[in-house]
Amino acid sequence: MSGHVVSVRTNITIFVALLILLFATVGAAYLPLESLHLPLALTIAAAKAVLIGLFFMHLYYRHHLTWIVSVASLLWLGILLALTLSDYLSRGWLDIPGK
């Protein structure tokens, strides 16, 4: 019944990778990237989350159900953000105050 046992070596490798990504994201913040800061920071954060999910949370070794649950939660977060922002970002398009 016990799930896959992740080796100490894998765990430490992942930890080191996470630290590298952390310093990458801090470093990137100091680069003159202008509007690319946010996408880059979110990409790195997503990469860290994926590493934590896959190895620390054992998603890599588990069957599809937990995959569906974790992906669904992100999808729903995406729905909330996308449709809410669709309102705010399109408000100025029509030349009527408040619309």
């Binding site: 019944m1 016990s2 799930g3 046992v5 992740v6 100490v8 765990n11 430490i12 992942i14 930890f15 996470l18 630290l19 952390l22 994201t25 801090v26 913040a29 100091y30 003159p32 800061h37 946010l38 920071a41 979110l42 790195i44 954060a45 860290k48 989350a49 934590i52 999910g53 190895f55 620390f56 949370m57 054992h58 588990r62 159900l65 937990t66 649950v69 974790s70 669904a72 939660s73 992100l74 729903w76 977060l77 909330l80 953000l81 809410t84 922002l85 705010y88 970002l89």
Partner: protein
């Protein structure tokens, strides 16, 4: 255990004490483990949406007033935030090793790693408290002692800045990090209880399911911070 064995057509023999107890509604240990694990994953999906409401509020205000948000985030301490990220990532490593120890039924290692995890969690809260204190000193806590810093007030007279949106960033900052800290406190309590129960040899079996599920929660709290750190601290560090 009687109820378990009685209603089964071919019940297992009375379980030895180092086997996990099988709850009456399950057929076998694998099903029981699976249910607990899936249950925690579904709960974490709920948690994603719980933080999601705040992230949506954050996204909206960042989208409609980017300069105020950028200006406000410069008042956060990037270094301490980075230190805290390292601490939390370390605690996640320790938690992952604790789960491994539970799977391998190594009680001594399990106790050690749980203790380290809880201690790193407490360190995080300590650093966070230092940050909060700095913000208190700088009069940046909305609803308590908030004052627009002088240099921002000077800027906002020349630039089209809305000082209320500047304050709003701190409302969201304190709500988001506060909610995260609350989750971490719950996590520390959970890990401590797990350590105590392991120490008292309370678990039937090695408590593998319980430790694993606690670990899932802990890693989730870590993942939340992984997103909060760049979203709150690293918006505009250059200027």
């Amino acid at each position: 255990m009687e109820t378990v064995t009685t209603h089964r057509a071919s019940g297992p023999p009375a379980a030895p004490s180092d086997e996990p107890i099988l709850e009456v509604q399950f057929d076998d240990l694998e099903q029981q483990h699976e249910a607990s694990s899936v249950g925690m994953w579904v709960f974490l999906a709920t948690e994603v949406m719980f933080f999601g409401g705040l992230i949506a509020a954050y996204a909206v205000y960042r989208a409609i007033s980017p300069s105020e948000v950028a200006l406000a985030s410069q008042h956060l301490n990037v270094g301490l935030g980075c230190l805290n990220t390292v601490i939390l990532l370390g605690s996640s490593l320790s938690m992952a090793l604790a789960v491994r120890a539970a799977q391998l039924q190594s009680r001594r290692n399990l106790l050690w790693f749980l203790a380290i995890t809880a201690a790193l969690g407490a360190c995080f809260l300590g650093v966070k408290a230092v940050e909060y204190y700095q913000e208190y000193r700088e009069h940046l806590i909305p609803g308590w002692n908030f004052q627009i810093p002088a240099q921002v007030a000077a800027k906002s007279s020349s630039l089209p800045l809305d000082p209320r949106r500047f304050e709003m960033f701190f409302v969201l900052y304190f709500f988001m990090t506060g909610l995260h800290a609350f989750h971490l406190i719950v996590g520390i309590a959970l890990v401590s209880v797990m350590a105590l129960l392991t120490w008292r040899r309370w678990f039937s079996g090695s408590g593998e399911t319980q430790i694993e599920v606690t670990g899932l929660y802990w890693h989730f709290v870590d993942v939340v911070w992984v997103f909060l750190y760049p979203l709150l601290y690293l918006i505009d560090v250059q200027s």
